[in-house]
């Protein structure tokens, strides 16, 4: 059965490692914070200037001066730090933030990502996405395998204007976990109950399938 957004986030949370600094994008990636495995300490960075981001505030405790990059009111964990936008992107560009999780409209088999612009539509801008994908050591994409028209978002080549080149390392979709290798997409896991055929059918790019593909453990 195809995963919902929370399950995708839950699967991505398994990628978190102890002592990692992580930047979570807007949408599904934000949900990853709800599934941090036990015994794993991570700190969340938000590019508007906070490290050690905590959960949403209790009602009545919202502070206009404390938001995340999605402009949502947040809190801070003990040991948090605040800084300006240049220092924030120094952390990102300088590869101090180790993992970036973000959404995408398309990913290609060489790891290019497109997630900021659809020609002909109102362009809102790339925000911090181009800096993040150009610099993070590890970039995981969280997205639906296909778009609303049922077309694959896992492509031989991105059709939309790209956000960054050769950067995506892993993709977790509602159907599968894919790794970007130098030979293309390697299928790692299937969503529970989803068949190999369903995944292949939903994927425009070639898939490298070695041995038997296990189901995700959630």
């Amino acid at each position: 059965m195809s995963l919902d957004k929370n399950k995708i986030a839950q699967r991505i949370a398994q990628e978190l490692e102890h002592n990692m600094y992580v930047n979570l994008g807007i949408g599904i990636p934000t949900l990853v914070a709800n599934y941090i495995p036990k015994g794993i300490d991570v700190e969340f960075q938000s590019e508007n200037g906070v490290l050690g981001m905590g959960p949403f505030p209790f009602e009545g405790e919202e502070d206009a001066d404390l938001i995340n990059a999605g402009k949502q009111t947040i809190t801070m964990m003990p040991g948090a730090a605040l800084f300006d936008s240049a220092t924030s992107f120094a952390m990102i560009r300088g590869r101090h933030v180790q993992l970036t999780v973000l959404g995408a409209m398309e990913v290609s088999e060489n790891g290019d990502i497109a997630n900021w612009k659809i020609p002909g539509k109102m362009v809102k801008g790339m925000g911090g996405a181009m800096d993040l994908v150009a610099s993070a050591e590890n970039i995981i994409v969280a997205m639906m395998h296909t778009n609303r028209k049922g077309e694959s978002k896992i492509l031989k080549k991105c059709q939309l204007p790209i956000t960054g080149v050769n950067c995506v390392k892993k993709i977790v979709t509602n159907l599968a976990v894919l790794e970007v290798t130098k030979n293309g997409f390697k299928l790692l896991e299937r969503a529970p109950g989803v068949s190999l055929e369903e995944i292949i059918k939903a994927t425009e790019a070639e898939l490298i399938i070695e041995e038997e593909i296990p189901e995700m453990i959630l």
């Binding site: 938000s46 590019e47 508007n48 200037g49 906070v50 959960p55 949403f56 505030p57 209790f58 009602e59 009545g60 405790e61 919202e62 502070d63 206009a64 001066d65 404390l66 938001i67 995340n68 990059a69 999605g70 402009k71 949502q72 009111t73 947040i74 605040l82 800084f83 300006d84 936008s85 240049a86 924030s88 992107f89 990102i92 560009r93 290019d112 109102m122 362009v123 809102k124 801008g125 790339m126 925000g127 911090g128 996405a129 181009m130 800096d131 150009a134 610099s135 204007p161 790209i162 956000t163 960054g164 080149v165």
Partner: protein, 233 residues
């Protein structure tokens, strides 16, 4: 001690003219110079180039300047949440230069720090890189980005002193310290203005040398864009 205090917003805005380039601190609606923007939106100045991470919302922040069509060009990283913006952009009356957020921050800092250009990996291989020099360092391609400066920078701090020293609060710091450095004239509005000597020199975020005028803001709405909360269990 050099005194930077101006007593009202009119004095703070002295010298602003049509066709100038302005910078505005803030991320979304957090940490924006509310009083400066409101006053600018009442002045008959047009053809402005505005450098700001975002473009406000329809009836607040830079949305006020957009409504009166005072802005001819926006330099930003993200300009969603603004219908008037979209109308003007699609009709071609508003030019928009979209810049990766980290490059925007660093270009403002560079402008203030006398660094005319620097290399960054952000945007390589994308349309942001079009027309820009590409060079490889450590086996990785980077693009050359140039500094940004402005005729006026408008920033907002939590506390400030008469010498122009600023302390920001929370994530309302964001672009403010960087744009403060990059304005030929930087106007700082603060929630609380105190005499020089009251702030701990070790806690200053923006030293007064970067500020030309400081004033106590009259009123702060501090609007929240996305009020997200959790329930008490």
């Amino acid at each position: 001690m050099i005194n930077k205090v101006v007593n009202n917003i009119e004095s703070a805005l002295k010298g602003v003219e049509s066709n100038m380039t302005f910078m505005f601190g803030g991320f979304g609606l957090s940490g924006i110079p509310e009083n400066s923007i409101a006053a600018l939106s009442k002045k008959d100045i047009f053809g402005l180039t505005c450098i700001s991470n975002n473009a406000g919302v329809d009836n607040f922040g830079l949305g006020l300047l957009l409504k009166r069509k005072q802005i001819i060009k926006m330099i930003s990283s993200y300009v969603g949440e603004n219908a008037e913006f979209e109308r003007q952009m699609l009709s071609g009356t508003l030019e928009v230069d979209l810049i990766p957020q980290g490059s925007l921050a660093e270009r403002c800092r560079a402008g203030g720090a006398g660094i005319p250009a620097f290399f960054t990996p952000a945007g390589y291989g994308t349309e942001v890189a079009e027309g820009k020099e590409v060079r490889e360092f450590n086996g990785k391609p980077h693009i050359l980005e140039t500094a940004l400066t402005a005729d006026f920078a408008f920033v907002k701090a939590w506390r400030g002193d008469t010498a122009g020293n600023l302390i920001f609060k929370g994530t309302a710091r964001n672009f403010n310290p960087l744009m403060a450095m990059a304005g030929k004239i930087t106007v700082a509005e603060v929630e609380e203005l105190v005499p020089a000597g009251e702030l701990d020199p070790n806690q200053i975020h923006t030293p007064g040398i970067f500020i030309q005028r400081i004033l106590q803001g009259k009123k702060y709405e501090k609007r929240i864009e996305q009020r997200t909360v959790r329930s008490r269990e």
